[in-house]
Symmetry: D3
Subunit: 303 residues, 6 copies
């Protein structure tokens, strides 16, 4: 029977971890992990999906007449589970800027309260997304099929919850929620992106939507569309400037076909249509149609 | 300890659900969910994968000499589990067009019978797909590696089962089966697509194949290829016309390289080769080679 | 209650399996499966992730002061589980080239020893990848967020382990490890690809990196980048020649933007920048910038 | 590798099953199992335990302020799960006495309605049992400890639910519920036994209480007490007569010490005390004390 | 956050293990566990229960028409899983009496072959036990209820399988199988006990049946009956003599009521009845009735 | 489809809970459960069993050469999990006697430290129990069989851990640990009982050992032995007096055969032997033999 002496490897790995922690200026205090858990966030999102759409995404043995019992119980436990994760993010965040535990606790509770209060509005937005998908895809047979089968709708459930977390100052939890959808759907929406009602992504694999993108109502996207940044803004010293608007503004009723790439803080005017595979780094007026043919005659900047 | 009063949120969500159901003209009758279950369909597909390829996708402790026992038992339970889901789809479908339960039951049983009878043919087609992958990829070391590792093969197992469900008038179950593969592989094949023997998709992420696509034998595709619709056909009143052929016809022995986009009811003639990233909305004659260079000189329509 | 007679289907499937085995020249000896198990490899990789990054990817109740206990125990069981899979691959491999069991066993143990010894180096490389992601993405808030959330980092953990397996003559296990990441991230890196320190893939969906690609240090890639083969090299008789260098060489500090396709054994010189959607089949000198505009003026070969 | 030819064993077992079914006059019609499921009943009982004692036997993350949500949701799903099992028992029961499905369905629903209506009363009885245990055992530190730790209390939760099922004409479900407690506690109470409020069994292993036993209020039992039948009543033809009273009547405030065996339709009068290991087949007057000494005509102390 | 330095405890425990191993003359060679696994044996027994009684103890979705498929597949995998455990016991057994691996392997396969061949006979015996329980208990409503609910029947399923293992020279596996039933039912039957057809234990908790007990046909026992050894036979040097007959012989049609204790190699003649709580250390003639009264020389009624 | 209106039942149950809480003088403050969890304690005990006997009760894939890694990791996580339960018990305990959180925390940590320090001693005691069982049972084939199969040994593992918890002022956790063994083995040992080295219980079902029992070294017990209280001591006012010695003292080398009942604070002198079914309420001198005959004043053989 083979024998592996793992001791030297354990020692090497220990040394590498110490080096890393020193390089990262981490103290090596005793204690456990203090970072939100992907599994815990996944559990919260699953519960919220059930609470938002009890008869369709809740337990299969749920019945109309006891929906509210289920919704109430599920919300209560999900919100408390979320609270625990919120505490972890805020505490992690306070490593560099220490502040009293009570202040963290108060902020955590406030954030979860606000998040809870936003849920009805999120459900209404998601209803509009489901309708948009149903109306926009000739293959869709019912709103229920759309809710249960379409990856674009799944991505939007995650996004609308993640965006709320992002707005409440919880970018890490928001990011985890978004990546959970990314892994399942291939759709990568940064939780910071602002997206209006009635949004629909068809097929979806390869879609990327950046942090400062602003999307109006009734916008439709196909697979592999990128709403990205042209370049990262830097200050006079050449440092990256965070938070500056650097992704497109997409106005109401715009349609963007598969594979199109829109880069930078450009505006696609109301009702514009962007053809497949188009590479676009300038504004499009309301009602404008851009095809690959058109885009060829641009002097196209580097990525 | 933080306390969240979930009652008002429960009430709001209840109101929103009522509004939705009224808007969707749903009665709010008591009762449970009557919609096929993603988990149940996933279970059926997993069982069928084991029944079709017992020594490779069945349980790890299976042995050659008892394969038939396993196959028979697994088929029997999988088909009955499928029957339950078929009933749910047909019943759901009869919401708008009510008909007697006995008729639904008869149709459900007939559909499962036909599905079962199609399984040997499906296995033979999948064997041809496995061989095509093995022969088409210089990196493939064995047919077993191909069956176990290649996402394109996984997608085709799902597709060939889903397509059978689609042909039997079960588009919802078919869709669920297809989306299960989409989530795992990033390959999005509509269950309506007709695909001949010896089909191979390499890498696969981002491939989209539309509902009315017709693909011949020994066709090979690479990642991010789209076989899509140019535009949705509308009737005189501007309503979407469903079911009209609107996706490409791809004849035998065609190869389509990564990122190519073929839109509309065009025909790629036998043995044609379509280069990477090509954007194509017209026919290609048998044996024709199209590269990005060629496609640049087209006046390219919008998406 | 519906009754399905599965006997004829069982018989048909049995016959088809026999035909397949004959066509593949497989004996139908009694016995069990002798092929590595995807689930077992997944378990090994999960354990190794925990052993490499105990406080971040290990169990949530782990504590600093007992890290080494966890690492040692986890390594020991993971390496023995890996050994079992290595034996399966080597045995499978010996079907065609039979050799003594003792030789297989010796090779298996040697391979696992070498794999274990490589782990500290892999951890150091992965630390450099995490830092590269943190420094390269203005949205990243901490190295911990990067390690836990970024699909590109997950793909690299799998790749650096898979590449080690590949180098040790275990291409099947390597492939399974790579496909596990592909399924989760949409990033498809062949385990044979050689990748230097500080590598970062942002977003990632649709990235494909081929078997003989060679990538230097501090290289950055965006989603949907392909480092592929232009054509498969054939010998005088027209047979595919395996193992010949056919994918790009990417030197240090190169950046390749989203959707770019680089095909064939070309070299992108140190510090080159390749714009989004560029289609490239020739060398780029050090420091060169290629944009879509430039690439339009090439006569572009077929895929 | 060893090979076992299971075919002859499969054939033998098949033949034995056929013989059995013929001997039992069972038709061998195709179809599935139609017998209540132990696992399903176990699930219902677990849910009901949570609904009856939400903060102590419900989920660990439950909170006071959302108890009712949990209770309502849990009751609803448990009652519907129970309904399915009730249907199975009634259908099984109708093998010999066929009757219309609608009648069975109506009876099933009626039974579950009545069962549900009895739950508040059952909770009150169980509260009295918990208090009795707390007051009766000097080692008990709190009512919560009693509810969570005492096997006698667990047995009574099962019994009070099982007895309700028994009274509603569901002896099979009742039996399954009782055996689940028997397996966990070693306490074997027939669901037919009538037991008043404030009942307490200490230690409990080996206790057997028969079907027609009638137990008053505030009775206390110790381990290995049997309330059994002396002999089975037979009619003139020597056939067993079912349902006749054949087990003891135990009046209020009786205490029966460990190992005592009381057989037959005798009455232990109010406040009687039966010593350990006593073997008793005759009545005891109110307030009477029986010790082993008495039962043996010599002097031994009471329990 | 509390910190526990587990190092000194780990060291102490290590030292104690070393002391133990030295005291037990165990070498501390590297390597894994080589002892049968309780969980593995439990899995084998569960599978065999399903294979013996497919429609009642097999999977709930099993259907008559595919019983044989299920039985064949389940037998095959259970027998191979058993083979692995048999190897472990024989290997463990050979610590003290080393012998060639090939011999162990041959013996293991032979044992499993013989075990498999005995299964049909075991099923027939168990059918007789089920009938005996049904006929012996006035409360029993059907043979199905008996098979599914009666702990005495569960204990006999385990015993008849365990006894076969015992006879095949696998006392450890036999013991594990017996203890699994003991834990669930409180019935402790040594796997060596020989028990004829039509055996029934009612209630069962506390029953103990010793290794050399010999029980005829149609014997009935109640709870807490002991068939034990009076004293352990010793040889001239005072050493325990193993394997000598030291437990009762119980002839056909004997009934033994609750709590009776029969000790030593006595014979209870055909049709004898032993009353409750009787303490008996001498033979009883055929047809004899012994009551507590007899055994104490005073008048007490029979059980 | 049946509809049950659970609202009135929910309301009734709510009212009953309120009544109960008022009767028990519980405030109904918002918040979660604050009581130790049976599942959590079970997890801790399982882990400790593995840490104490790594190669026999630890994970099946453990290997000698990495035992210490496993032991260290398992101890660390088990002790921290225990700490969380200790906090819950101490907090629950402080309901009536409020004290500062910091004091509770300090006591909790101190208790877990002391518990950890006691583990090596517990392992040594358990080794003596295993040896005693091996030497005392002629059927035992190896010390390993004893450790893995004997319910009496399992009960002692639980007891020796539970007794330590009891001594550290954690009677609730101790009780839960004891009841877990009771449910599996039918052996009910109060965690307060003091038991010397080399203790062995054979068969075990029905054994009851009371809180203040004191048992010497090398004592052996058989099934259904009770070491109980004769009566509960009361003070002048008739209130139960807790904690007074009320159970037997059993000196070294005593053997007590099956079914014997020893009640009250009597002393069984060194080397005494108590026969089966004996009922005993007085002292026995060292070396004394008591048989049922003695206790009944007539001649019956010893156990």
């Amino acid at each position: 029977m083979a024998v592996f002496d793992v001791n030297p490897i354990v020692q090497s790995l220990n040394q590498i971890r110490q080096d890393w922690r020193e390089a990262q200026r981490r103290s090596r205090e005793p204690g456990g992990r203090e970072f939100p858990s992907r599994d815990a966030v996944a559990g919260v999102i699953e519960s919220l999906k059930g609470a938002l759409f009890p008869m369709r995404l809740g337990p299969t043995d749920l019945r109309h007449e006891s929906e509210d019992f289920y919704v109430g119980h599920t919300l209560d436990t999900a919100l408390h589970a979320l609270l625990a994760q919120v505490r972890l993010e805020l505490k992690y965040d306070s490593r560099l800027r220490p502040r009293p535990d009570a202040e963290i606790e108060a902020q955590a509770e406030q954030a979860v309260h606000a998040f809870a209060a936003a849920l009805p509005g999120i459900r209404m937005l998601l209803d509009s997304d489901v309708l948009a998908a149903y109306q926009g895809d000739p293959a869709a047979r019912s709103v229920d099929e759309v809710l249960l089968c379409y990856p674009g709708v799944l991505a939007m459930i995650h996004h609308r919850l993640a965006h709320q977390l992002y707005r409440l100052g919880l970018p890490l939890l928001a990011r985890i929620a978004a990546e959970l959808a990314h892994a399942q759907t291939g759709i990568d929406i940064h939780p910071g992106a602002q997206i209006g009602a009635g949004f629909f992504i068809d097929h979806g694999t390869g879609v990327v939507i950046g942090e400062t993108a602003v999307i109006g109502e009734r916008v439709r996207l196909y697979q592999a569309v990128t709403l990205g940044a042209k370049r990262f803004p830097v200050d006079a010293q050449g440092n990256l400037q965070k938070g500056l608007p650097r992704h497109p503004v997409v106005e109401d009723d715009v349609v963007i076909y598969a594979g199109a790439t829109i880069l930078g803080r450009v505006t696609l005017g109301r009702g514009a249509q962007i053809g497949g595979n188009v590479w676009l780094t300038h504004d499009v007026p309301p009602g404008g149609h851009v095809t690959q043919a058109d885009s060829r005659h641009d002097a196209l900047p580097g990525g």
